[in-house]
């Protein structure tokens, strides 16, 4: 399995195959639990951290923050996971041992890839509202806006990845989706 993972490229992951994501999740899960044991987290907490690390990894790949893997996927997951564990411990005021200065570990440069976005900030009120109404949009609008804003696709990329036939069709579909979203938000704030 290790060799399968080593052959996976960023492009493979960007295709979004559930099976591939499932394999990576399963291949690293037990190793991560073993690794986290020394920090005395409960297994449930460890799984939570592992999943959060996995989501951060996923978002960075999908948003094009990483162009090529400079280390194995396991190293990425462990590196992010370690950052999250220390962050969690620091928030809970836990210590690993009295001689260990957690502030040394939280630095971003301990990560495999300094360009990684570790943003786990709470959403603002406006963002919560946008998220709520985004999820009420039709599937096509959700997909289009996701390709554009989340994946950072150009209109040409969108045409290649979907069944839109021309740039004008994409542009007008996007305008319609944005208009619907704005209308729904406005009608919500008028309620």
């Amino acid at each position: 399995m290790e060799s399968v993972q080593e052959n996976i490229t960023v492009e493979d992951l960007k295709e979004g195959s559930d099976l591939l994501f499932k394999r990576i999740y399963e291949d690293n899960r037990d190793k991560f639990i073993n690794f986290a044991r020394k920090y005395r987290l409960s297994e449930d907490d460890t799984i939570d951290v592992y999943q959060d690390a996995y989501i951060i990894f996923y978002n960075n790949v999908m948003q094009g923050k990483v162009e090529v893997f400079t280390s194995s996927i396991s190293t990425y997951l462990f590196s992010i996971g370690k950052y999250l564990i220390f962050d969690k411990m620091k928030k809970n005021n836990k210590t690993i041992n009295p001689d260990f200065d957690l502030s040394l570990i939280r630095e971003r440069d301990t990560l495999v890839d300094a360009s990684f976005d570790l943003d786990q900030d709470e959403l603002t009120t406006e963002q919560v509202l946008l998220k709520k109404h985004f999820s009420t949009l039709g599937k096509k609008c959700q997909e289009l806006l996701t390709l554009f804003y989340y994946r950072g696709y150009t209109i040409k990329d969108i045409i290649l990845a979907s069944d839109y036939t021309s740039e004008n069709v994409v542009k007008s579909a996007k305008s319609r989706c944005m208009k619907t979203l704005k209308e729904r938000i406005n009608s919500n704030s008028n309620d």
Partner: protein, 239 residues
């Protein structure tokens, strides 16, 4: 270049250095432009959060399947002990098992069954859970497809759904759950009898259970038309 074009290039990561200067300047000087940028940037964050939620629910599904699989492996270990004992008392009927490449046989015969039951048209804006399940299935988002099939209320369940849910599990290589659902299709005498028998034979091959695979293939050849010729070929390779 319009302000809209600048925003477009910003969000598609395609601003040139020159455009970036104009972009930064506008953010400082044009309140309307800044407001539109912030709106779209907030939308970007909202969508990222939405995508994270979708991924989180997939990971929870993987975790559930993993726990179910562990239980299956645990039970399977007892069967393995029984099989070893059978070998020890001199039953070597499985001799040829070591000469067959079961993974190759599985891979060369497995193809995902197409969606033949639910028509997804572009003009159809209805957002039923079933539609979402089949969209996820067709786009190979198998975990989402399973979650959606599970979310369909009992009153709206159709006889073909177990078959497609089993297919989604196959897509995730969760053979325990796939086998259970294909067997359910056979037990309940639903449509896709021949197809389910075929996939059960393939799962048996993947699990290197030659006898079981032969039983399913023989059953398929005598009772159904689906993949009859392929089943005969496979049977020859196994014998």
């Amino acid at each position: 270049m319009t302000n809209q074009d600048l925003l477009y290039h910003y969000f598609s990561n395609s601003l040139t250095a020159e455009q970036e200067v104009v972009f930064r300047k506008l953010l400082e000087t044009d309140a309307e432009f800044k407001a539109e940028f912030e709106y779209e940037n907030n939308l970007k964050k909202a969508i990222k959060s939405h995508e994270s939620d979708v991924m989180k629910s997939k990971l929870k599904g993987f975790e559930r399947n993993l726990n179910a699989k562990k239980l299956f492996i645990f039970n399977y270990k007892y069967l393995a002990v029984a099989a070893t004992l059978a070998l020890l008392i001199g039953w070597f009927g499985y001799n040829s098992i070591f000469g067959t490449n079961y993974s190759n046989l599985y891979a060369s015969n497995f193809t995902e069954y197409p969606n033949t039951v639910y028509t997804i048209t572009r003009s159809d804006d209805s957002n039923t859970i079933e539609r979402e399940a089949f969209i996820a299935y067709e786009t190979r988002n198998y975990q989402i497809a399973i979650d959606k099939f599970d979310a369909i209320p009992e009153t709206s369940q159709k006889s073909y759904m177990s078959f497609y849910k089993a297919q989604a599990y196959l897509g995730l290589e969760d053979f325990g759950n796939a086998r259970r659902l294909f067997q359910q299709v056979l037990d309940e005498n639903n449509e896709f009898q021949g197809e389910s028998t075929w996939y059960l034979a393939l799962i048996a091959i993947k699990s290197k259970d030659k006898d079981q695979a032969i039983t399913y293939l023989e059953k398929l050849i005598s009772n159904h038309f689906y993949n009859k010729d392929k089943a005969k070929e496979l049977l020859e390779k196994l014998n």
